[in-house]
């Protein structure tokens, strides 16, 4: 994950809200089922026409293609889950590390030293985000990477409170 520096302690590891993987799962389930339903319905409609024209597609063939498609969709879902699980924010007593996994073998890692943070803003917009308590966290810094946005984080208010507490500790230690 990340290598801690001397005197650094890991405070929390935060992931995105479960709604992210849940919505992906729903989409993949629909993607898995709809072509199979279309294939079965199409075979019902065209079955006799295909037989009459010498195309011998059997039920075994349909089962084979359907299962092959389901396996493909399942593997794609596991890719999505791996990306979701590896998308994390690590809070330490010295910095915030935002690791964003795009696809397998493609990730972005942003390190924000706590003493460079100028402002922390949270955004919870909509009925579902309010009810399920997820939203975006925006961190403004003094560095080259001026703004870091973390989307669909669970309990952004609690994360902001944790960051504020860490910033206060950094401020007190520098006085």
């Amino acid at each position: 994950m990340i290598v801690l520096r001397e005197g650094e302690q890991k405070i929390a590891v935060i992931r995105k809200h479960w709604i992210v993987i849940f919505s992906n799962a729903v989409v993949m389930a629909i993607l898995a089922v709809v072509p199979i339903a279309a294939l079965l319905y199409g075979n019902q409609l065209l079955g006799s026409w295909l037989q009459d024209n010498g195309v011998g597609i059997t039920e075994n063939n349909i089962l084979f293609f359907s299962t092959g498609w389901v396996l493909f969709v399942w593997i794609m879902f596991v890719v999505m889950w791996t990306n979701y699980y590896l998308d994390i924010i690590v809070l330490t007593n010295k910095r915030i590390v935002d690791i964003e996994q795009f696809i397998l073998f493609a990730k972005d890692e942003v390190t924000i030293p706590l003493n460079r943070i100028e402002d922390v803003k949270i955004e919870v917009k909509g009925i579902l985000p309010t009810l399920l308590r997820y939203g975006n966290i925006q961190i403004q810094t003094a560095g080259t990477h001026r703004e870091t946005i973390m989307n669909t984080m669970k309990n952004p208010e609690a994360i902001k409170m944790q960051i504020d507490a860490l910033l206060q500790t950094v401020e007190e230690s520098s006085l």
Partner: protein
């Protein structure tokens, strides 16, 4: 897998069956290769990217069980 019919299929139909069986065999081999490559990629990530042991075991169990069921059905249907 191979059905015994009392009526010999027409020549055209025979070729159609052979063609479809070839296509399914090739697709099966492609699917096996895809499954193998993706499994290797997953294992790399699950071992090296800091996923905790318990979660890694759970995801492995689910992934391999569902994949095995799908591949098993494909073999039977081939």
């Amino acid at each position: 897998m191979v059905g015994i019919s009392s009526v010999a299929p027409a020549e055209d139909e025979k070729w159609s069956i052979v063609y479809i069986n070839m296509v399914t065999l090739i697709l099966f081999l492609i699917e096996i290769a895809f499954f193998g490559i993706m499994s290797a990629l997953f294992e790399y990530h699950w071992r090296n990217d800091g996923i905790d042991k318990k979660t890694a075991i759970i995801v492995r169990v689910w992934y391999y069980i569902v994949s095995a069921i799908c591949l098993g059905i494909m073999v039977v249907a081939l």
